[in-house]
Subunit: 153 residues, 2 copies
């Protein structure tokens, strides 16, 4: 992961990985690392996207038994006071080849609250129909030995 | 799910689903429903197994980025006093077509502790090499509308 040292075990409070897949072309990996109580770093590389803006979000359920449609709505804990659901991670930009490489930080997402839920990439006008890829957010040791493959960096 | 009423929303404290897949032939679904504080019902149907005994277990990590090999060891919480790891769910029996249909109860597994980890089916002599299929244990609404397809019952 860019910025936390290379290949060695970095200190963190928890880590997760979501392998993203879609019915058509989307494929990729996103990773979540809880650096401290108030900082979750989310990074990833996604391929097969529509060039331009795409919407990244964490959804309530990790249930992909009916594909990306059974993942429920965007994750928002009941005690959230924000207007925007905290699972709404905003937009990631795909280049002309359909690849998006991103890294963001959140002071609201806690990795232990989202493990078992899902990560969804959707078209810019996010709706159930535009869900292009999804993956379960799975508990990880956070070693990320295969970071070169994932990061394309 | 057999025994909790048919198709309607049954009361539970939490539910999860793991879609199992393997590199060769294994495919199936397992479901976990926490009925009360001390009762987790685990059921499922798995196809493509070797007829006879197979080993079912919950593993520490849900990381399947390197297939069933990156799921870590059998889940056992640090405070467990049992000799056997609590993630060791014992054996399930596949019929001559390679199908295993099972239902078990655990007073040790709590669904909220295993969400984000993985379910693994392995040959009778469980070892990393014999891991025949795995899936991330994902958070589910627990409605299981498609229970007929899953249960073959
Ligand atoms: Zn990186
Ligand atoms: Zn059933």
């Amino acid at each position: 992961i860019m910025g936390y040292g290379s290949g060695s075990v970095s200190q963190h409070l928890g880590a997760a990985v979501a392998m993203i897949e879609g019915p058509v072309s989307v494929k990729g990996v996103t990773r979540l690392v809880q650096i401290d109580e108030n900082k979750c770093v989310i990074d990833g590389t996604l391929d097969g996207l529509t060039p331009g803006k795409n919407q990244l979000s964490i959804h309530e359920l990790g249930d992909i038994s009916l594909g990306c449609e059974s993942c429920g709505k965007i994750y928002n804990p009941p005690n959230s006071s924000d207007k925007k659901p905290i699972g709404d991670l905003g937009q990631v930009l795909a280049d002309e080849t359909g690849r998006a490489v991103f890294r963001m930080e959140s002071d609201k997402i806690k990795v232990w609250d989202v493990i078992g839920r899902s990560m969804i990439i959707a078209g810019a006008k996010a709706s159930v129909l535009s869900r292009m890829g999804c993956g379960i957010i799975a508990r990880s040791a956070g070693l990320f030995q295969n970071s070169k493959k994932i990061c394309a960096c």
